[in-house]
């Protein structure tokens, strides 16, 4: 099984640096960006399987970002990680296309499990589409 590619979008440097290391330690290929611009810049070359997205960021609101991401690739899986849920609760986030919404601080093992499950599901779907051509 190839490495899962995860993009971490969060303006908190202190968080992204450590969380990236910990994910890498758990055998996940991670790219961390701190602004929306960086995210869009690296999106095309990196082609992440999963995106971890913070809701509050300078430059662009996480909700807007989610909308744009889902527009760009409806198959992309986005997990929202936020310090607060004001203005958006889990149900709303899911309705808008997010896979899940987690409230900080988060349990890394839980996140990893979620990422792996999402990746597995995605691969199965892709395999299904590849092997069953009409």
């Amino acid at each position: 099984m190839s490495q899962i590619k995860v993009m971490l979008i969060d303006d908190e440097l202190g968080f992204t640096s450590i969380f990236t290391e910990r994910l890498i330690l758990r055998d996940i290929d991670v790219v961390a960006v701190n602004t929306a611009e960086d995210a869009f810049a690296k999106l095309k070359e990196f082609l992440p399987d999963i995106i971890l997205l913070d809701l509050k960021m300078p430059g662009m609101n996480g909700i807007e970002m989610l909308k744009i991401l889902k527009k760009y690739d409806p198959a992309i899986d986005v997990i929202i990680i936020t310090g607060h849920g004001l203005g958006l609760d889990r149900e709303e986030a899911v309705k808008m296309g997010a896979l899940e919404m987690l409230l900080k601080p988060i349990d890394i093992n839980e996140v990893v499990k979620m990422i792996e499950n999402a990746y597995k599901k995605k691969n199965m779907e892709q395999d299904f589409l590849k092997t069953n051509k009409i």
Partner: protein, 575 residues
């Protein structure tokens, strides 16, 4: 001390309006009624004066007319006798048959006004007589009229009884025949004279009578006036042609008008008399009607203003209450919004650093696994410490999550709840704390209490808050602390009350206890957010929270949560 959070009104504004309206209405009443009364009184005064003048004028005219009639009557009777004396000789007049013939003529002409005719010689002996009385040879030498007629040639006597014992008066003329004085006299019937005066009648009490100079009645007086009144009227000096009026003469408890005219050359007086009330009866009637109109008019005006003011006060009351309610709503939503924003802000600001802390701890834990630290004696202690950091971090998250759940707009799932069960759970949780402080917990639950729709965690939060507050209020204040929890159904509401016998809340603080961050607990012990959160939660349920408190007696918090009809509940559940 009872304050309802929802109805915290400053009544001063309302009272100010009420007072203002009352004053305005009183002013309006005064300004509407005063002119009416003023006009009425002025009108009445002028009307009365002019009416009185007119009435007096009318009476005077009447008296004047009758005065002339009576004078004419007397003059004519005298002229009749004069003619008799001038036209015939003494021989003819001494003939009784002749006299009788002329008496009959006169009686025929003047309706038995003349009773008899006689001729009296110089010595006062009646030498001839015609009439019903046997008065031939009657001696009149000492009679007043006899002496007067000798002096003044013509004379009309006062009314007297005379020899015949009947009221009458005499008209006499002196005439010389053969150098001797003879007197031709006639007796005038009292009744026919009296009827002239008796015919003067006005109203119910208006009558006339005649008195002579000494105050003796010359005609009948049906009113039986006392002589004192007549004497009083007689003393008034009047000219021969003058008509004099006396008003407001009080006699026998009544007021009278007298109109006096002089007749018979000033020897007699014709007096007209009427009760003032009778004379002014029309005016009195008009006045009574006027007073009634004025009275009913005034009552009407006052009533209209009163009703108008009541309507205005009610209107202002209502709009004031409306305004207050809107104000409160604005304040409430402002408060809630500010708490919400603050909570969200705190949650975000705290959760992010806490997340970093936990990640750092996790990173150390990850790294520890990489290292070969089997020989490190403190490895276990490191792991425990890191776990503790993680757990405490998660605890922070729980706290901020609670804050957020309060601040969040959307309703955390409402379900059907049996209030009694939730309170039981709360009591179980806090029993230890209460026992430690020697506080007894008493519950009075209504069995079969209907369920309500609410979020269990929110309701728990409210009950726990109120329960803990009750325990804190007792604290060390009361050694025999008692917390009473009562649930009951009242109308379409479930009422839940938490009562304690603690220190009570001073009235100055009562209106502020639901304000966010208001606390009387020592620093570090209370955040002042508990009751604000309770208030927010209960309000969201469409309920109400009241506090009744008395210092040194205790405090009762009473929650009122509306029951949701089955249909609404289903709708909510399916949403």
């Amino acid at each position: 001390m009872n304050t309802k959070k929802n109805n915290l009104k400053t009544m001063s504004g309302l009272e100010y309006y009420r007072l203002f309206i009352k004053k305005m209405v009183i002013l309006l009443v005064i300004f509407s009624l005063v002119p009416i009364f003023l006009i009425s009184f002025v009108f009445r005064y002028y009307f009365l004066t002019s009416y009185s003048d007119k009435l007096q004028g009318h009476m005077s005219e009447l008296v004047q007319k009758h005065k002339q009639n009576i004078d004419n009557f007397l003059q004519e009777r005298l002229n009749n006798i004069k003619l008799l004396a001038e036209s015939f000789t003494i021989e003819q007049l001494s003939n009784e048959e002749f006299l009788q013939k002329h008496l009959s003529l006169l009686q025929k002409e003047y309706d038995s006004t003349f009773v008899d005719i006689g001729v009296v010689n110089n010595d006062g002996i009646q030498i001839a007589y015609a009439g019903n009385y046997k008065l031939v040879s009657a001696n009149y030498k000492d009679s007043e009229w006899f002496n007067q007629v000798l002096k003044s040639k013509y004379y009309i006597s006062d009314v007297f009884l005379g020899l015949r014992g009947q009221p009458h008066f005499i008209v006499a003329v002196t005439k010389q025949w053969n150098n001797k004085n003879y007197i031709v006299r006639a007796t005038i019937d009292f009744n026919s004279f009296n009827s002239m005066v008796e015919n003067i009648k006005i109203g119910r009490t208006g009558v006339a009578f005649i008195v002579n100079k000494t105050g003796q009645l010359q005609t009948k007086n049906t009113n039986n006036l006392q002589t004192i009144v007549i004497d009083f009227l007689n003393k008034i000096e009047i000219e021969k042609e003058e008509i004099h009026a006396v008003q407001n003469l009080k006699y026998g408890g009544k007021e009278f008008i007298f109109i006096i005219g002089s007749i018979k050359g000033g020897q007699w007086r014709l007096i007209f008399q009427q009760e003032q009330g009778d004379a002014f009866s029309e005016v009195n009637n008009a006045r009574q009607i006027g007073i009634m109109v004025l009275l009913f008019g005034s009552i009407g005006v006052i009533l209209i203003y009163y009703l108008m003011s009541r309507k205005m006060i009610r209107f202002i009351d209502q709009s004031e209450i409306e305004r207050q309610r809107m104000n409160e709503q604005v304040i409430e939503s402002g408060k809630l919004a500010s708490i919400g924003e603050l909570a969200a802000g705190i949650a975000h600001e705290i959760n992010n650093p806490v997340a970093i802390m936990i990640e750092e701890a996790g990173w150390i834990q990850d790294l520890l696994k990489e290292e070969d630290l089997k020989d490190c004696e403190n490895l276990q202690e490191f792991s425990r410490s890191l776990l503790q950091i993680r757990m405490q971090g998660m605890r922070c998250k729980d706290i901020t999550f609670k804050l957020l759940s309060f601040a969040r707009k959307t309703d955390p799932r409402a379900v059907k709840i049996q209030v009694n069960n939730i309170i039981e759970e709360i009591i179980k949780l806090s029993k230890q704390r209460a026992r430690y402080r020697h506080i007894t917990i008493k519950t009075e639950f209504e069995s079969g209490l209907p369920e309500i729709m609410a979020s269990p965690s929110e309701l728990q939060q409210v009950f726990l808050n109120l329960f803990n507050n009750a325990i804190d209020a007792i604290g060390t204040y009361n050694d025999e602390g008692l917390v009473t929890i009562v649930t009951k159904k009242v109308g379409e509401n479930v009422i839940i009350s938490f009562s304690d016998n603690g220190q009570g809340i001073p009235s100055a603080n009562i209106s502020r206890i639901f304000d966010p961050f208001f606390t009387t607990k020592p620093i570090g012990k209370g955040t002042g957010i508990g009751l604000a959160i309770c208030h927010g939660i209960i309000q969201k349920l469409g309920g109400d929270i009241n506090v009744i408190s008395e210092v040194d007696v205790g405090t009762t918090f009473e929650l009122s949560i509306p029951l949701i009809v089955e249909k609404d509940a289903e709708e909510l559940l399916t949403e």
